[in-house]
Subunit: 241 residues, 2 copies
């Protein structure tokens, strides 16, 4: 992991850009004691410094949590493959035409997970080895909505170092249900009641699949992008433990 | 409203028993400033000083909230009518026989609401008039699960002084859906994912019916009586605003 930039904001939060084996990312650390590390995976079409990613990072650092985020494959500063172009174009076309983008979204999400899960594990290795985030060994959490969850759920299934997760805005597929059924850490699952991309029953079915003894579904009115502020604040409290 | 007892616990919480037009109740007030008043309606088979009612009252007073609770009709120290005996016996018999108690529960709940809603409104009048709970005019909330919600939802529909509510463990009936559709205050709705008394779809349908712009469904694993502690704590934070 090679740091490429470092800035400190007036509130004392340090933001370090990095490159890890060709994957660009950002690590935010709060001014005071670090109480945990959040792996934050952005949604489809977003990137490591998109407004929502930044807002979420600031919520976390204000609660004493460090946050690491990566550009997902084909997103942000990363090269786009013909697959990325194909799926992005076709998914947009279906939404524009009022058709169901669900099957294509699920297919692209599965491709994203197969590429991104090894990257996340390798970044976690590097952060732990380098002791870049001191004292977080016991408290690593995951945050990611939509495509971020489609990456995060297989990541949680593969990675025992992640102790808690907030996921959501994603529906049941065979792959995700299989992965969720092996997950036992505390999970909060966010669902938007009027999600135009994820049918309600598909979100409920995926929540149902988690094996976690402690899991909570939080559903709120509104569409895919309308998760209310109070829910985002509450998610950070959950990750802070 | 006539006070019948008064005790103060070591943490400074004052508990006053009262009788209001023949309805026995309890008013708990915290030691310091009172930030709001919670109307707490107990569940079926419980009463004003049942262990869960007490535990919830203590959570609220610790957060600066006063709590008032009443024995519901046919419960606690109140006389039981032949209707109370009939429904209680038949509901228990159906549960014991492994039959669906849903329609009978709904019928009894509707009877309870018709009796209890005027009592709650009259108690709220008395508390306001007597200035027994100073400074709570702007922040009156409702808490009640199961039969408590079956009373609370029609109460919310009738009573504009209630500004926020936590309800749940109850399913859609025509009456409750009609009442919920007129409710616009912030609502949190608790659902137990494996509730043996309330079918999942019936709980989801009732959540769907609320007209509130701010409403959140919180679902957790476990049966009717298994609402997790963290959810109860979170509900009190919600009521405290």
């Amino acid at each position: 992991m090679r740091y490429t930039s470092e800035t400190t904001s007036p509130d004392g939060t340090t933001e370090r850009g990095f490159d890890h084996d060709g994957v660009p990312g950002v690590l935010w650390t709060p001014a005071g004691d670090i109480t945990g590390l959040v792996l934050g995976a952005h949604g489809g079409g977003q990137h490591k410094r998109a407004p929502r990613t930044l807002a979420h990072a600031h919520r976390c650092t204000a609660a004493g949590l460090a946050v690491v985020t990566l550009d997902s494959p084909g997103h942000g500063d990363r090269p786009r493959t013909p697959d990325d172009d194909h799926f992005t174009r076709e998914i947009r076309a279906r939404i524009t035409a009022g058709q169901d983008p669900g099957p294509l979204l699920a297919e692209y999400n599965a491709l994203q997970a197969s590429r991104a899960v090894p990257e996340w594990r390798s970044v976690l290795d590097a952060l732990t080895t380098l002791d870049a985030v001191p004292g977080v060994g016991g408290n690593v959490g995951f945050w990611g909505m939509s495509m971020g969850s489609a990456i995060g759920i297989p990541l949680l299934a593969a990675e025992p170092r992640i102790r808690t997760a907030v996921v959501g805005l994603v529906g049941a597929t065979d792959d995700l249900v299989r992965a969720a059924a092996t997950i036992t850490v505390p999970v909060r699952f966010l669902l938007q009641w009027d999600d135009q991309l994820i049918p309600r029953h598909a979100g409920l079915a995926l929540f149902d699949a988690f094996a976690s003894h402690r899991k909570s579904l939080h559903a709120n009115p509104g569409g895919h992008g309308d998760v209310p502020e109070h829910e985002l604040d509450s998610a950070v409290r959950f990750l802070a433990g």
